[in-house]
Symmetry: C3
Subunit: 354 residues, 3 copies
């Protein structure tokens, strides 16, 4: 990408709705970097107050900051109400998104003759496109991907290397799936019979909405019957595991190592932090926020923030944590009470005698 | 699969040992579906009482229910003591299990000349079968699988795309491994020496019993010495991680994101719910049930149900959870006691003076 | 590997700095095995006292033990202060490390003409080496690996099947990555905007130091800006997930299913046990030990051992666990106190009347 002058960056940020003003010398910059790692010719930013000490020592030529934040002399400030938003715009302007290799439809890919491949789709050597698959325009399918029978993929999707999509699953438009993730594998569906497990055919499939991005090494079960659904605009980190028949709403964000059991219903714009779990058949309302390593055992109402194991309203859960930490002190106080009560009883008895 | 009449389905269920009786009009159905998603021409079921409200509004033509459950007019009932078992039979009859592609032994697979491939085995393009491997009759090895030197695989096994089996491992008959799972990688075996970690050669291997099914993106270490074992009939969900030298008994069921550390011994028919962990060198008895997100730090006797972190007998663990939730109230009561005792002491002292 | 006489093994251990003395008959052994599984002609060891009962019944011809440990008659003892270290030396001597297949640079690999491949590097059929990649001398790249544009890999590295390294990442010398692991995928970097998530280009990369070993199915994000770093000599188990921009110091050991959120700083020689998590932007000092299933929500000072959720100093955390387990008893004692105080108050009031 070409360098940009700071005045140009300000204009681009402002044009994108994040009014930004140059305070200091105008100059060309070629990259965005962290305060700690930035060099001359790079622009940095301060968003998390934790990093204020790094501002004094940064070697960046410019920093995106809020009004009123003092900047070392010789460093230009790009002042904006929301530095995180402005720096996002700056990263897009200076770095852009990843450009994928152009293989065309490789002769070294294994493509079933019945598959339909859209215009300008890139199918890499070593990718497999099975029978009756439909792949939209402008898709990029990296090596080692396996797209099974009858899968339908929309336009402008990217499957990074070694992604597997099982038979009959459906991906919307602009879906990105990172390496090693598996979509639509059989869930853990067995009927117990005489101490053994009889496999229930997993006759359903998985539907991924538009603009979904899924991290590396995730696993999203197909439904036993009907469909597992991931709503449009939802983003998953790495190693997110979704059980069979679960419905995840649009615009959710799930962090790494999250597990949602089968037949759960997760609303829209729900955030689930790392290593948290939601039990089977649980309903989680819209805009819920689940803190890290929580275990959700019961339905959660819309808008709640929960934490803990089992998860509880975050304020209550934190008070419990604090109470538990002080528990040894409280136990001492109970012992002391028992002693004092006993002494007082003796005193009362003695007084009564006299 | 061809449609089936409800009377035929009843007969098939009864023939399989689940006596089922048609209560309502006989008709042809072509699929099983959930109460919520079913359409005309589909059969549904009620097993979990949570879904009773969906029964009233289902568009299914028929439902599998217990005796005495009322069904909307116009919907036929298939009555059976165990609807979950009967519907399993119905799903098998109407949907069957997945049919795999037929590649024969592909010329685009990488097969070492020393490997022995059984009759009717399907080896996909892009699969690798290394030196001295033995693969049984009727196996299906999807693209991207790597079967390393000297691995032995029984009859009728299925390795979905991108499964890796490290050298010397042994799989029984009818083993199914879903995409991205890794069998027999080196465990975390290092000897500490002078602040560094010296790698201990992982000289053992992994043995998977008959009829085992393993979910997507699991990782089952080889043993340092001897073998890691997964017993026959055991089923794993996605991203189950098993440490080196661990022995898992037959007919167990481990849900997603479960981790068992090295050298553990897990009995037969043990169920481990999602995100739970078992520590190294721990022994877990037969028929134990470990609830979700539990951490097992000590041996568990046969038949116990445990929960919590560290895991405890489930009744005790639940009482602790309830007690912790009420802890802020108890702390108030202790403070109140301290105040009242102090007041009473003053009163006693005053009384004594008078 | 050839057999070794016990006297030879003692000499090799002693030469490696672990003084070992033969106490019993000298003979040839061909393998190391566990006490339980060892047969005649094999040497075993006792390091964990939990296995003392197995010593009496072992069929091993010899055992590595500390001075003073009694050994059954007919079994030779190899006596050493540190049996675990000595047996590590014995395993290396008798079993050695894995020997990899020799493909040379396969014509069935997909290698961009701009890539530079070192001397004696082995590039398997079905591996992809993209544009401007540099691969050092003596590397082994198994089938299904994808090494993206501009990646640089040092000497003597091993990428097991289906490892993916995203563009621009850097691996040191003697790095080993097990199957299915992904290095440098995009992290969960989105700017919230009007209820949607705007993707922030992940413009950074990942650097893996020398002598690092990474288990199966791990995922190590690239940084948004700058680099994610894994220090030299660090070892990861399976399914370890590292967030974007996190720095992990040298000589750490992370067990399976560990998750470290983004922008964390982990010191040197830190051990993190299974299923534990560290929050974003957290600093963990050198030589810290984090017990299994812990959740680290705050900075941890060098040298501390922590446990729990949220993690606390291990002694305090254990006292809390014990206190919680006894909580129902303490609640009874508080109720009893309330009752006794009330009775005493009545008594005092009655006494006052009289």
């Amino acid at each position: 990408m070409p360098d940009k002058r700071l005045s140009e960056l300000c204009k681009i940020c402002s044009d994108n709705g994040f009014e930004t003003r140059l305070d200091g010398a105008d100059m060309a910059v070629h990259a965005v970097n962290t305060l700690e790692d930035a060099c001359e010719g790079e622009v940095s930013f301060l968003s998390n107050p934790k990093y204020i000490p790094s501002l004094a020592t940064t070697k960046a030529s410019a920093v995106v900051v809020q009004d009123g934040v003092e900047v070392p002399s010789g460093v230009s400030a790009l002042r904006c109400k929301d530095p995180y938003a402005a720096v996002t715009v700056a990263i897009i302007a200076l770095h852009g998104y990843r450009r994928h290799p152009k293989w065309g439809v490789s002769e070294r890919a294994n493509i079933d003759p019945s598959a339909k491949i859209g215009r300008d789709a890139q199918i890499a050597p070593g990718a497999t496109i099975a029978a009756d698959v439909e792949i939209g325009d402008g898709c990029t399918i990296y090596p080692g991907c396996y797209v099974a029978d009858r899968v339908r993929i929309g336009h402008e999707c990217v499957l990074y290397p070694n992604v597997v999509v099982y038979d009959d699953c459906v991906l919307g438009h602009r879906v990105t799936i990172h390496s090693g993730s598996v979509i639509g594998e059989d869930g853990l569906g067995y009927a117990p019979y005489d101490g053994k497990w009889i496999k229930i055919p997993q006759a359903g499939y998985t539907v991924i909405g538009d603009d979904v991005e899924i991290g590396a090494n995730c696993a999203i079960d197909r439904a036993t019957l009907g469909k597992t659904e991931i709503g449009s605009g939802t983003k998953f980190g790495n190693v997110v595991v979704i059980g069979h028949g679960t419905k995840v709403g649009p615009d959710c964000m799930f962090v790494g190592l999250v597990g949602i059991a089968g037949s759960a219903k997760i609303g829209k714009h729900v955030t689930v932090a790392g290593q948290s779990g939601v039990g089977g058949h649980i309903t989680v309302g819209d805009d819920v926020s689940i803190a890290g390593q929580s275990g959700v055992h019961n339905d959660v109402e819309a808008g709640m923030k929960v934490f803990g194991y089992p998860a509880d309203e975050i304020g209550k859960a934190r008070r419990s944590v604090i109470a538990v930490r002080k528990l040894p002190d409280w136990i001492k106080r109970v012992k002391q009470l028992e002693k004092e009560l006993s002494q007082l009883r003796e005193l009362v008895n003695e007084n009564a005698k006299t």
